[in-house]
Symmetry: C2
């Protein structure tokens, strides 16, 4: 009950603060962001000390190495955190932007105005930099934020929260614009995702397990991102050099990111020509190949792929490979086994490239480009709070605009309806 009372208070405070931040001037919001960035730079020693305490506790609790790595801050990553907040200050303010004003036969002008969503709940795991990042994105887009980081990062997050509050106060904005939930009680998450009256949208950032669980229990709309099982389809009209470069970059530039390719489809008519050199390149880089029968006939080192492999997000130097009849089978395979994240076709054929673009049901669909480009910075959003594989509201990389909505506006001069 005590937790519930605490969470209800957090929700009410966020709702109240959301009204103040929604009408705040760009200048005031940017002042706050720049003050937060300065405070982070000034207090980097204190922040690193708190982070060392988090790390010591996490070591003692036996946290796995990948989580320890995500939890760790360094002088450099604190500097990047401050720079990121300043970059968000430099982005154009989406709030209040008027578009599409058109005169109607009745004489009224109808258009749209961009408005904040209200209160955004962010649920994330170890990384403390998400605290500064998410706070800055919500603030700039005129939303109040309720941040729930991992319990392993609570000391680091408390310091960042204090610096965010300092910046808000300097700009004359209420502290409750950004609230960091200060309890390690896991039930707080259950409360947050069901407080429909106070929370307008939930943005989860974390592993598939976390997101699937939230999705099952949430009563608040979620900007969700389950997994990234991204495909490269090498068409029979592919340019050899482009195919080699795009497969290499999509698969091997980073193994652990959601826009990394996990599956390669090759058109049958080109398999004998293209698959052996592509496989040799991947094998030389230490990538394990799991292929269909036809792949294995062409690539000696390929293991046998199962349907689970075709559906998998490996996040590792492993790739599933399938020889397909052509564009139709490629599209069907992707829409069946993919996760609606990012897919690319390598082809010089106009009609097939356009069909792929139109018929593949993913949040990013590309022609002759690496899947690794599916990213808020690469797309020019300035920053991203996540990548949505959903269709409702936001799809693909979600930046400031994805944290807003549009209302209709009508400019009249006394018109009434006939």
């Amino acid at each position: 009950m005590e937790l519930q009372a605490y969470m209800q208070r957090v929700g009410r405070q966020a709702r109240d603060a959301s009204r103040a931040i929604a009408r705040a001037d760009s200048r005031v919001k940017n002042d706050a962001l720049r003050a937060i960035a300065s405070a982070i730079r000034r207090e980097s020693t204190a922040l690193l000390a708190a982070n060392r305490d988090d790390l010591a506790a996490a070591h003692a609790a036996g946290l796995e190495p990948v989580m320890l790595e995500r939890l760790t801050l360094s002088e450099r990553s604190v500097a990047v955190m401050a720079d990121g907040v300043e970059q968000i200050a430099a982005l154009p303010d989406p709030v209040g932007e008027i578009s599409d004003l058109k005169f109607r036969p009745s004489g009224i002008q109808v258009g749209k105005m961009r408005v904040p969503l209200g209160v955004i709940g962010i649920i994330y795991e170890a990384r403390p930099n998400v605290t500064a990042d998410a706070a800055a994105l919500c603030l700039k887009s005129g939303n109040a934020a309720i941040l729930r980081g991992g319990s392993e990062a609570i000391r680091s997050n408390r310091v960042i929260a204090a610096l965010v509050h300092e910046g808000l106060a300097l700009a004359g904005l209420p502290a409750d614009v950004v609230q960091v939930i200060d309890t390690t009680d896991r039930a707080a998450v259950g409360q947050l995702i069901t407080m429909r009256e106070y929370v307008d949208v939930i943005v989860p950032r974390g592993g598939k397990g976390l997101i699937a669980r939230l999705l099952a229990e949430s009563r608040v709309p979620m900007i969700q991102h389950l997994d990234g099982n991204c495909h490269v389809y090498v068409d029979d009209d592919a340019d050899f050099d482009k195919a080699m470069a795009i497969v290499e970059n999509s698969k091997t530039q980073r193994y652990g990111t959601c826009n990394t390719a996990e599956s390669l489809l090759v058109a049958r008519a080109a398999a004998a020509r293209l698959l052996p050199p592509i496989a040799a390149m991947l094998t030389a880089k230490g990538v394990e190949i799991r292929g269909c029968e036809e792949t294995r006939a062409l690539v000696a080192e390929a293991l046998a792929a199962t349907d689970e492999d075709y559906a998998a997000e490996f996040l590792a130097p492993i790739i599933s490979v399938k020889v397909v009849a052509g564009i139709d089978e490629a599209i069907d395979h992707i829409n069946r086994f993919g996760s609606h994240h990012t897919e690319t076709i390598v082809s010089e054929n106009y009609s097939k490239a356009l069909r792929f673009l139109r018929e593949v049901d993913s949040s990013s669909v590309m022609i002759n480009a690496s899947t690794r480009f599916a990213d808020g910075f690469e797309y020019g959003l300035g920053a991203e709070i996540g990548i949505s594989t959903d269709k409702i509201h936001a799809r693909g990389p979600v930046g400031l605009e994805g944290l807003t909505s549009q209302k209709w506006i009508v400019l009249g001069s006394g018109q009434v309806r006939r």
Copy 2:
């Protein structure tokens, strides 16, 4: 269990059909729509006969008069239904529309392509015309539709469904693009709103009770519209003639629509000048006034208003009236008591008008225009499937565009990420 098996089959069929309709050409979709309109005109006698059977059964079951009225079709309303379907054929196809293509420093071009949502579930009450209307909007926007009308209209809906299927078949589209649930079992709705794997969005059309219940139980995103408690704020800088015309039209043009004004706010500095003539005009039209103390001091016939009155959607010749200090109290009152539907300010003051436009948190915000303009046709959408008072995904009148999403597209020429 039999119902569940039936609904699962409907869902699976809709998902399969959604792929076919998503990639259908505009020409094919428009052929289907025009064939449906012709079939409706040709079979109007059969449709009216089925409707008479529905009406006889509804009379026998003691359905209330307002529901009987909504259930009733006439030669004229059948003609309007066919015209509506043809008008949707004439609208531009939103699917596949590419926008915002921009070159990025990496050399890729990034933009967006409009795509269907997938499968849309429509839940509605008595009106059989919704069957044709919703089917046409979903078809045109490239979505498969699952329609669940009221059991009182099932005979009419069956005839319309057959005519829709005839049109789909003539154009070579699968019949499952539009499925009308052919059971009066109420549990079908419970199934429909929880089949997350097959249904992408639910659009409820009906009374507040229906929608609140669906909202509580739905596991699928909903384009929701609870109620329309719309406000007219008459500022102290209001033009007298505009204030009179806008209050009259907003309140009295139609009493039963969701964009009808239910509440009038008047700035204190103008109350003595403006409120008595406005009240006299309303009273002369038979509108009951429920006001605050200050209103009652100026308007002899006004009854006392309660907080419930200020929150009410009367859908009747009743209006709540409050004298407010000025723009700030007006905005606070609306954001507190309103339903985020439609509000208008009557003012000649630039700064106050812009503040109202920006700070009122409603799906439509107007300056010097009647709230009655909040409508898909008046806004130029061509048609509307409903009005959303939500912020996620769609806000305000929802037309074809509201039934679509946008995916990111990347046009490259072999670029990889550095």
